[in-house]
């Protein structure tokens, strides 16, 4: 990506721990304005913990962000900010969209009032003015007849409409950064396509940077400019979307891509190329490369030390891979 514009968000060496489990173990990336960066990984990869760390929502007592820096344009370092200051940034400079809109919305308040509450939390605005703006936001996110929908309770809306309400809340203050954690995973493909188109349109309109967390490489292919592939708490590969999907370098990325049905014609032997084994227990990681126990290309060096995240030797200097096959 071009280095001209300073990034909206720059994460460097982020480390988050839940007890003995190092859920995020040195994650770095940057997002520019108008850019979508996808963090893709399976359960236990640390992708959601990364998002929660950026938002300052790691529950104290359960976990701790113990290292690294999180720089948000115009606000500086977020790590270590007091809760009150973080609460001001969330919802204003940083919009958040979660996976399950039914649990993220309060079931006993009308959705219009919940959107208005976001505004009343952040500025001194009359209740009626906030309500009017809530209706405007609902119109902006494509909710039909927003005036009457604003009077609905969350359970009266479909999953897609609830997710639109969440998005309306997230964009109330034209945030520079939108963090979306699996926002379409609970939705049907038809509604997923609608919501992804909406998020993409808003990105163009607001010029926000988007960090989009997903487990689905097909979603990545459709929306992202940049991709971080996470495995067991670390980024194993980072590249521009086209470069990554055309020529994945890390054996894990290759395995993930191959196991997606529809990437190759159905052969005589009706089998999907699967990755053997399961995601390792983060409290008992193997020594060396975290993926080596499942890796078809593992060799002696993989057990000795963890490979660094570095440009592939003799390859594209704009991409990074954490694998001894591509390291010096």
């Amino acid at each position: 990506m071009s280095e001209a514009a300073p990034p909206v968000l720059a994460v460097e060496g982020l480390r988050t721990r839940f007890g003995a489990v190092r859920a995020v173990d040195g994650v770095s990336f940057a997002v520019a304005r108008g850019e979508t960066l996808c963090i893709v990984g399976e359960s236990g990869s640390g992708k959601s913990a990364t998002a929660l760390s950026i938002m300052g929502l790691i529950p104290s007592g359960a976990g701790i962000v113990e290292g690294g820096s999180i720089l948000l344009a115009g606000h500086g370092e977020l790590r270590g900010l007091p809760d009150a200051a973080m609460a001001d940034i969330r919802g204003r400079a940083m919009g958040m969209i979660f996976q399950e809109p039914m649990t993220a919305l309060n079931p006993v308040f009308r959705v219009g009032a919940q959107i208005a509450e976001v505004m009343r939390r952040h500025e001194d605005v009359a209740r009626s003015a906030a309500r009017d703006r809530a209706v405007e936001l609902l119109r902006l996110v494509g909710v039909p007849s927003p005036q009457s929908r604003a009077q609905d309770f969350p359970h009266q809306l479909s999953g897609g409409m609830r997710q639109r309400v969440m998005i309306a809340m997230a964009i109330a203050y034209d945030p520079a950064l939108i963090l979306a954690d699996e926002p379409t995973t609970a939705l049907d493909v038809t509604i997923q396509a609608q919501i992804l188109a909406l998020i993409d349109g808003l990105k163009e309109r607001l010029g926000s940077g988007i960090v989009f967390i997903t487990h689905d490489l097909r979603v990545v292919a459709q929306i992202a400019q940049q991709v971080c592939v996470m495995y067991a708490g670390v980024v194993v590969e980072r590249a521009a979307t086209r470069a990554l999907l055309r020529e994945p370098l890390h054996p894990y990325t290759k395995g993930l891509m191959a196991s997606v049905p529809g990437t190759r014609p159905r052969g005589a032997l009706r089998r999907l190329p699967a990755i053997a084994g399961t995601v390792p227990n983060l409290a008992r990681l193997p020594v060396g490369c975290r993926f080596r126990n499942r890796c078809p290309s593992a060799f002696a060096r993989c057990a000795e030390a963890e490979p660094p995240l570095a440009p592939p030797v003799g390859g594209d200097p704009d991409r990074l891979v954490r694998c001894w096959l591509h390291a010096a």
Binding site: S43, V189, A193, A197, Q222, P261, T278
Partner: protein, 332 residues
């Protein structure tokens, strides 16, 4: 032509809806409304559609787990809707189900061996038969005999789904309904389970009714596909024909909304407008017409029948023939 293993004819599952303090009947949800389909021995029929279209209700109804309101249901030549209790219990050995969520569908208080072996007890097998059966089933799904004494929480998601499959295969069924069996699993584990299901099908000659919303997976796994919309089948065809030449605009919309892993195909990724209408108050005529880019006046007024085209391709659309390259509908 071989006889179908499962023959569903004009099956309906209607749910009454009651409202108000007197619980007056306020309407009917026609979750499954006149569905006919056949599953042949050893084949995979995939059932696809959005949530709320009735695909899971249909999956339960063909196993007679959900009583049908009307219609006919024949399995291995027997009329399931008119079987007595004993005969139904015997038929259940031959038709089983794999559930979506391996966390919710396994009893957390039972050990793996008890979960897999329950069917042997219910059907009066001896303890020795049961123990041999459990060991064989665990081996069949890639688990070891040492797993029999563990509880569900000690397994990973993929292993739990292997247990769910082992349970379904007890007592040699010929037909298994798989209701979204991999959608709760991680991508890399999904492939393992899909492969296991295909391998078992080849070894044991199983027929699957494979319920899924993932069209790419369906294209890979299915021999034939039925597309459901608001309680009815709107298109059915051999998998290759359906994906090469969808005749119903809803099928085309589902395909366009299924993201491709190719980043150069973003132009083709298009969202169909609107959402599934309320099944309490379905649209007149063709249920898809409010969202359909091809809708004409006739679609608003009249429900189209399933029109038959070449090679077992059927579509419930007045304009289906226009989507076909160059042939006329055969008489429905």
């Amino acid at each position: 032509m071989t006889a179908p293993l499962l023959d569903v004819d004009d099956l309906c599952v209607h749910f009454p809806v009651h409202r108000g303090p007197l619980r007056r009947r306020a309407g009917t949800v026609r979750a499954v409304d006149g569905v006919s389909l056949q599953v042949f021995p050893g084949e995979t029929l995939a059932l696809v559609g959005e949530s709320g279209c009735g695909k899971s209700t249909l999956g339960r109804a063909v196993l007679n787990l959900q009583p049908a309101t009307a219609g006919n249901l024949r399995f291995e030549g027997q009329d399931l809707l008119r079987l007595g209790h004993t005969a139904m219990k015997a038929a259940r050995k031959r038709m089983r189900m794999v559930f979506q969520d391996p966390h919710a569908s396994l009893n957390p208080r039972l050990r793996a061996g008890e979960i897999v072996g329950e069917a042997f007890t219910i059907h009066g097998c001896t303890r020795a038969e049961r123990e041999a059966g459990v060991a064989e089933l665990l081996d069949l799904v890639g688990l070891g005999p040492e797993h029999a004494t563990r509880f569900p929480h000690e397994f990973s998601g993929g292993q739990r789904q292997r247990l769910g499959i082992a349970r379904a295969l007890a007592l040699h069924p010929s037909f298994v309904v798989c209701d979204e069996p991999v959608s709760a699993l991680d991508v890399s584990v999904q492939a393992q389970i899909v492969n296991l299901l295909m391998e078992l099908q080849e070894r044991l000659g199983l027929a699957y009714l494979f319920i899924s919303h993932d069209l790419h997976l369906v294209e890979f796994i299915a021999d034939r596909v039925a597309v459901m919309y608001l309680g009815r089948i709107v298109e059915t065809a051999p998998a290759a024909a359906l994906f090469a030449n969808p005749l119903h605009p809803y099928t085309s919309a589902l395909l366009a909304a299924s993201p491709s892993i190719n980043p150069d195909r973003r132009e083709a990724y298009v969202a169909v407008e609107g959402e599934l209408p309320s099944p309490l108050n379905p649209p007149t005529g063709c249920a898809f017409h409010p969202r359909c880019p091809m809708a004409i006046d006739r679609c608003r007024a009249e429900m189209p029948p399933l029109l038959a085209f070449a090679d077992g391709h059927e579509a419930r659309c007045w304009r289906a023939a226009e989507n076909l390259d160059a042939s006329e509908p055969v008489t429905p």
